[in-house]
């Protein structure tokens, strides 16, 4: 039981920090799209896969086309108690929170700019005009979040915190595209995380195929997202539509003893197959 409450405590804290960041970025909120694991959880919940559903980091994509110059991102965040993770870090803002254990927990907010719309075109820094060049970093595979996203109400996980904000949250098709790209890029490296495949299965499970296919078609039809979406379609097929796919194997490892391996495999294949068939 201690473990569960500890996990719960981290979830509550992660959400609270996310709200802090959204509050701090107030004037810029319209330019922000919540992506990453927290967006997956908001969209589809656990989807019967009772593995810790998200990490504590909050990933926020920024649409430069909508972003204003004032206040500078770094000023807003630092005023709210966030600091750059290190002097070399780009787009990683951290804050420390006390926990019931002795050590304080470090929670990060990542500011990310989709590569196709980033003013900065070199390796990492997004170089948003009017903001510190290292306030946000360029990320590939996020372009789709600008195209497939809708506003959702984001509230705290404890009743004592009454804050809530309407924020754009990446849609399931955009999240799927980002996840399969991430799996592909990190495959075979020590940054590969099995939980990314589990998030894909959660997205499949929690989204009706018709809805997912309609959103995916929108991505394929938009210049900003077309390329990533096309590539992701092949990645879905290779990773999740066959028993030996790397995504299937990762999902199985991720659930461990919590679910039957064959059920996970069969579910991945069936739902990936449904999407691919609907897109034909």
């Amino acid at each position: 039981m201690a473990q569960v409450s500890e996990v719960d405590e981290l979830y509550v804290m992660a959400r609270s920090v996310l709200l802090d960041a959204l509050e701090a970025l107030g004037p810029h909120r319209d330019a922000i799209v919540l992506v990453g694991a927290q967006a997956v959880y908001l969209r589809v919940g656990e989807a019967d896969l009772a593995v810790a559903p998200f990490t504590t980091d909050g990933d926020l994509a920024i649409d430069p086309a909508v972003l204003a110059t004032i206040p500078p991102l770094e000023e807003a965040l630092m005023a709210a108690g966030f600091l750059p993770k290190s002097k070399d870090s780009v787009g990683v803002w951290i804050t420390k929170r006390p926990t019931s254990r002795r050590v304080d927990a470090e929670v990060a907010i990542d500011l990310l700019v989709p590569a196709s719309v980033s003013p900065g075109t070199r390796r990492r820094a997004a170089r948003l005009p009017g903001h510190d060049s290292r306030a946000a970093r360029i990320v590939r595979g996020l372009d789709d979040a600008i195209v497939d996203s809708d506003a959702m109400r984001l509230a705290a996980l404890v009743q004592t915190d009454v804050r809530s904000f309407d924020v754009r949250v990446a849609g399931p098709a955009a999240l799927l595209v980002a996840k399969v790209h991430k799996i592909s890029e990190r495959q075979g490296t020590d940054r590969q995380s099995d939980k990314d495949a589990l998030d894909v299965l959660r997205l499949f499970r929690g989204t009706e195929t018709d809805d997912l296919a309609a959103r995916y078609a929108k991505l394929l039809a938009d210049k900003r997202s077309e390329e990533a979406a096309k590539a992701a379609r092949s990645l879905v097929e290779a990773q999740f539509a066959k028993r030996a796919g790397v995504g299937v194997e990762m999902a199985i490892r991720s659930v461990g003893a919590l679910a039957d391996a064959e059920e996970i495999a069969a579910s991945c294949m069936a739902l990936a197959g449904d999407l691919l068939a609907a897109l034909k």
Partner: protein, 392 residues
């Protein structure tokens, strides 16, 4: 000599009665002396004697006016039978009948008897006397021209001289069936009776069980006899039940009638997981009842279920309506088409989903795969501690 075309002259009280007197003035042939109205000399069991006496009483009541029958001395000789009787016509002509007493006689026994008594039957009319003879046993006897008398009034006795044809119908079911306990709790009817006993705080009587389950009282009696001898119920006085050892009864039922014997099961995959499946069930029009660990977990503290087991009519069609996919490996849904509707009895809705009665869930779990049996025991423990929550 024999003619079934002759009209019946006499109606007796039995439902179907043909009593035809034939050839009254025909050839007189006394096989046995009229005077020797003695009891059988063979060392018969008392019950056989009683049976013969009772059988003759039944036959006597069905004879035409003026006819009599009495037990006669037994003719010694090979192929000896249990007793002999004499039937006397109004004109004092006498017909001899060999009598064979059988406490019980099934169709197979009838066939053996026909074979074993070929010689005895060659000497004249041969009649089997039994407490009760089923329709198929009687048919066997009739095929072989063996007469019969049972104590419920099923009678067929044909004499050539003096000409006599009696055929009357008695009970079509054995009125004393409870004397023979059921052998197991396998089968739909036994299952319904067990459920009725387990689910009620006050043990119902035989008639009440019969009415509740729509099963004839004779069979209910037989099942109760089995449960009595197995000490799964206690009885006070004649027929009335004192208590039901329901946990032991559930275990015994599970042993006799494992899950796979009670229906036709097919495995499916709901790739979106059990919650999605349950949500679909809740809005479906199917006649279903969720059982197994998914149902148990809604009442007792059990680990998160991995398999949805559901009693359902027409599984193949329902599966497609519920968007399930056939699966061998990795299945997470088991649909079972029940042999009997009793599985739906007492189902309750919780959060819009229909779950089988707790006793049904327990017996299903006890013979399920994986952790099922252990979960069944856990559920029984919960049921013991919360009897008020599920027993009516």
């Amino acid at each position: 000599m024999m003619s079934t075309a002759a009209p019946s002259r006499c109606c007796l009280q039995t439902l179907v009665a043909h009593v035809v007197q034939l050839d009254v003035l025909g050839n007189l042939s006394c096989v046995l002396p009229l005077a020797s109205m003695l009891h059988a000399v063979r060392n018969e069991a008392v019950s056989d004697n009683m049976l013969i006496r009772e059988g003759l009483r039944v036959l006597r009541a069905r004879l035409p006016p003026g006819w009599t029958v009495s037990e006669a001395a037994l003719e010694s000789g090979p192929g000896a039978v249990d007793a002999a009787a004499e039937i006397v016509a109004p004109d004092r002509r006498v017909g001899a009948v060999a009598l064979e007493a059988r406490a019980r006689l099934d169709p197979k026994g009838a066939r053996d008897l026909v074979d074993a008594t070929r010689e005895a039957r060659a000497h004249g009319a041969f009649v089997v006397v039994a407490r009760y003879l089923s329709g198929s046993t009687r048919a066997r006897l009739q095929e072989a021209d063996v007469g019969y008398v049972d104590l419920t009034g099923n009678v067929r006795v044909i004499l050539a001289r003096p000409g006599l044809f009696i055929e009357t119908q008695g009970a079509s079911e054995d009125p004393n069936r409870e004397e023979r306990p059921a052998r197991s709790l396998r089968g739909a009817k036994a299952g319904r009776i067990v459920r009725t006993l387990v689910d009620r705080k006050e043990p119902p009587g035989v008639r009440e069980i019969a009415a509740l389950t729509k099963i004839d009282a004779g069979y209910v009696s037989r099942v109760l006899s089995l449960l009595d001898t197995e000490a799964l119920i206690t009885r006070v006085g004649r027929g009335r039940m004192g208590s039901v050892d329901w946990p032991a009864l559930l275990r015994r039922w599970a042993r006799d009638a494992p899950l796979e014997s009670r229906g036709n099961a097919r495995t499916y995959l709901e790739p979106r997981g059990l919650s999605a499946f349950v949500a679909r069930l809740a809005i479906s029009d199917e006649r279903y009842a969720v059982t197994g660990s998914l149902a148990a977990a809604t009442v007792a503290p059990l680990a998160a279920p991995r398999l949805a087991t559901v009693w359902l009519r027409d599984t193949a069609e329902a599966a497609s309506r519920l968007a399930l996919r056939q699966a061998e490996a990795g299945a997470n849904v088991l649909l079972i088409e029940p042999d009997d509707e009793g599985v739906f009895e007492g189902a309750v809705k919780r959060d819009g989903v229909r779950y089988a009665a707790t006793s049904q869930v327990a017996v299903d779990l006890l013979t399920s795969t994986g952790r099922g049996p252990a979960e069944g025991e856990e559920l029984i423990t919960w049921m013991r501690e919360n009897e008020g929550a599920w027993r009516k």
